[in-house]
Amino acid sequence: MSTRRNFLKHGIFAAAGLSLLTQARMVEAAALSNKVVIFLFLYGGNDGLNTIVPMDQYATYQQLRPTLQIPQSKLLVPPGTQIGFNPGMTKLYDRFVNKRDVAVLNGIAMPQDSVGLFAHDACQYVYQTCDIRQTTRTSGPEGWIGNYFDTLTSTPNLTGIDLGGSPLPLQNSDYVPTSISSINDFYLTPSFDTQALQAAYSGVMNVPAANNVVAEYNRTTRVQALADSAVVRQSTSGYMATVTYPSTSLGNSFKNCAQLLYGDMGVRAVTIGAGGWDTHQNQNAGASSTALGSHDRLLQGVSDCIDAFFTDLENLGLADNVLLITMSDFGRNATENADRGTDHGYSSVAFAVGKMVQGGIYNAYPSLTALAYTNKLNIRSDFRSVYATVAERFLGASSSLVTGGSFPLMDFL
């Protein structure tokens, strides 16, 4: 597996006997593009209808959502628009209105001939790979960002990092992304007999495990962890956050992400994941005419983290080339169920954030009267149009290579 990776690691660098830091710098110079994509996945299926509310369809919305409707007084409606941001998303709303670096992408879905519509794992797989028929699922999945990496002349180790999002969007047949749970935990320093054991560990991991995939994959992953953890610790140790991140695991992921970008190690994409979006029951528990409910607070968490992250990058002078895209399994049904929750729906809303983003609203909001599949919001844009736009207008890459097809570009970039 991963012949190119091994060639890079053991061929060029090992032969030249270069230090890890020098390797990282070389990698930097070799990279064609310094653009960075942050891919935030909301696991479980975010209720787009209560994330961005269509104010011009508010009466219908109220009928569809007898208990879950957000009062007009709480919604954050940008002047001159017909959308209301969820009341938890004050920070993203503020960016939308003032910094103009937020794009609201309405009606994003996978096409109706996708395999596994409305099933979590199938939809996550499709959104992360663009393989709508899931034909590669067992044979060797490649992520949509992995497809982009395939167009680069080289993809050294830290090109793509999974920060608790999933390695899947980043991988291709030649490239295995680095996964980091937390930078603080990413080290291999034995607690006793340290020097002798470190030397012996490296020696053990340098012995190829002939004829067994399980052993060899474990070995190459450890070789990668050894090299990458050393580079990450050296390069990022000077990082000091300039803002206070939310003290949640998502906040920690975003803080780690800023720290990685500070390290200037040639990182070109990072995946981050947020859980808790499968809101079948009592979806907005705790909501009142003034207080936020549980789904509102999930959105608040995401909005606060995104704002802290970009503010930190702006303060550090690192924000110019960083684009964040969100996706989720699916939207949720337009109608609420008998349990004050919502079941698996179809299209949802996505966001793009970054200095290069043309802030605004893209796509007319899906009709709340002409529903798909009886009670689901219909599609306005194939999700691959979002990736195609990112490829062509941000990464400078072929959108057909990234998405595997041809899709209309959107104007948020």
Binding site: Y43, P66, D113, V115, G116, F118, A119, H120, D121, T138, D162, P167, V176, P177, T178, S179, I180, S181, D185, F186, L188, P190, S191, F192, D193, A196, L197, A199, A200, Y201, G203, V204, M205, V207, A209, N212, V213, V214, A215, E216, Y217, N218, T221, R222, A225, S229, G275, D278, H280, Q281, N333, T335, E336, N337, A338, D339, G341, D343, H344, N375
Partner: protein
């Protein structure tokens, strides 16, 4: 290097039906014989004998102490001689993934564990019916108090919560796509996979399963809280349900409770069910990529034995593929298999009243801790076990091995016979009881030279750590 094949295969069996060999297990399997050992493992006693029970960490003083229940469960994996029962209990927990993050009730979680253990080698129909009425599951997938009689302001029915119904079909019993008898997806004439169920089937199943709820009673005198799962006819949808083209006649009053077994029987009568379960069990116990013949055979054993798991598992373990070279030492270890396997191999000793957190800490970091699966797909979806190997997880695994070999629960100078000990003998001894297979010759010589002629506690620990990190140990 040649290695005793009986020993190698006994190690393989013990890693798959349980959590890997303790020092004396392999000779016990060889003495009993493979088939006899399996035949005994598939019929665990209903009640543990007192000597076995005494090895487990005792139940926590408070039933709401989730960590106490975790310690006790992990100690069963470490010390139960009925390893297959414990392995199946864990695999069923992964299959019927339920997380205390949402359930937030240690009593419910522990009761579910006990239920899964009681049916671990029982009948899958009992499991499906029981899990549908399990308190933790009712909370986790929202079927508690699901109202089938709700009406909107115009008097039209409101769809009940579909969460449990969907996962019952998709994750627990059928999968998303119809399968042929070899476990392959079926395609229609247009080349599209044939769905195993429709959105309408999900809704009808959900309607049939409305009305169940958990009743909580607090004793006015003692304050003791008890729970019962009851059926409330007034919240049951009494209309007819069309599921897979078959009508289940809606029942009124208490008879509405009978729709649950009818629905389960209907689901299990789908030809895809036995293939789906056979494939998952083979993937968990034997190989991620089963041969079509293997699935066909096991699926037939399962359905022809009335969905009895013990004969199905016996079939998996005695089928020729199970001992074949594409299966033996060719599976990725889950973190729990890795951690418990290392501790069993090192003969770790936890007192029955231990409050040691070492296993809790590392299973939590590796996100593979009992009672807390990260999603409805548990830790990894069936067939995608390679997800268990990435730079974050290999780092945690090797850090955990460091913690184990330096733990007060492990005593290497007792474990390794000290008489006439040399580095070579020590490395060979340790690799044998940890691998039950040869250690790569080059790795072996590197570990021997690491010891630098010394057999101190430090060097024994270092050697054990290197073996636990070595590519050979990662092969389950």
């Amino acid at each position: 290097m040649s290695y005793d094949q009986q020993r190698l295969l006994a190690g393989h069996l013990l890693r798959r039906i349980g959590f890997g060999p303790s020092p004396t297990d392999v000779s016990a399997v060889i003495a009993q014989g493979w088939d006899n050992y399996i035949a005994s493992q598939i019929i665990p006693p209903a009640q543990m004998d007192s000597a076995t029970e005494a090895k487990f960490i005792v139940a926590p003083a408070s039933a709401t102490d989730i960590q106490g229940w975790q310690r006790r469960w992990y100690s069963r994996m470490l010390y139960s001689p009925w390893q297959l029962q414990e392995k199946m209990t864990l695999l069923l927990h992964e299959h019927f993934a339920t997380s205390n993050t949402k359930v937030a009730n240690a009593v419910f979680m522990h009761d579910q564990e006990e239920f899964l253990r009681s049916k671990a080698l029982g009948n899958f129909r009992d499991l499906l019916i029981g899990i549908s009425l399990d308190k933790a599951m009712l909370v986790y997938l929202d079927n508690n108090n699901n109202n089938g009689a709700a009406r909107d302001s115009q008097g039209n029915p409101i769809t009940p919560n579909l969460n449990f119904a969907r996962e019952l079909l998709q994750l627990f019993a059928l999968g998303t796509t119809k399968l042929d008898r070899y476990g392959n997806p079926l395609f229609d004439s247009g080349g599209n996979p044939v769905p195993a169920y429709t959105e309408a089937d999900i809704k009808a199943v959900a309607r049939a399963l409305t009305g169940w709820y958990i009743k909580t009673t607090t004793d006015a005198v003692t304050g003791v809280v008890t729970y019962q799962v009851l059926f409330n006819p007034s919240r049951h949808d009494t209309g007819n349900k069309l599921i897979f083209g078959v009508t289940i006649t809606g029942q009124t009053g208490d008879a509405g409770r009978n729709e649950l077994p009818q629905v389960i029987d209907l689901i299990m009568s789908q030809s895809t069910h036995s293939r789906f379960i056979a494939k998952i069990l083979i993937q968990k116990l034997a190989t991620e990529t089963p041969s079509p013949r293997y699935i066909n055979y096991v699926g037939q054993v399962y359905s022809s034995n009335g969905f009895d798991l013990k004969y199905t598992i016996q079939a998996i373990l005695t089928y020729p593929d199970f001992a074949g070279e594409t299966v033996v030492r060719n599976q990725y270890r889950t973190p729990i298999e890795q951690f418990i396997g290392a501790l069993r191999g090192l003969n770790a000793s936890f007192a029955s009243n231990s409050t040691d957190n070492i296993i809790l800490t590392w299973t939590r970091k590796a996100a593979h801790q009992i009672y807390y699966p990260p999603s409805v797909f548990s830790f990894y979806p069936p067939g995608e076990k390679a997800i268990l190997v990435n730079t974050a997880l290999t780092t945690y695994r090797d850090q955990a091995a460091n913690a184990f070999v330096t733990s007060a629960r492990v005593n290497l100078t007792t474990l390794v016979p000290q008489s006439g000990l040399t580095p070579t003998i020590a490395v060979d001894y340790l690799s044998d009881i940890l691998l039950y297979a040869p250690l790569d010759a080059s790795v072996r010589s590197q570990i021997i030279s690491y010891m630098a002629g010394s057999i101190s506690t430090t060097k024994l620990r270092g050697a054990a750590w290197l073996i636990l990190c070595s590519p050979d140990f990662q092969r389950n």
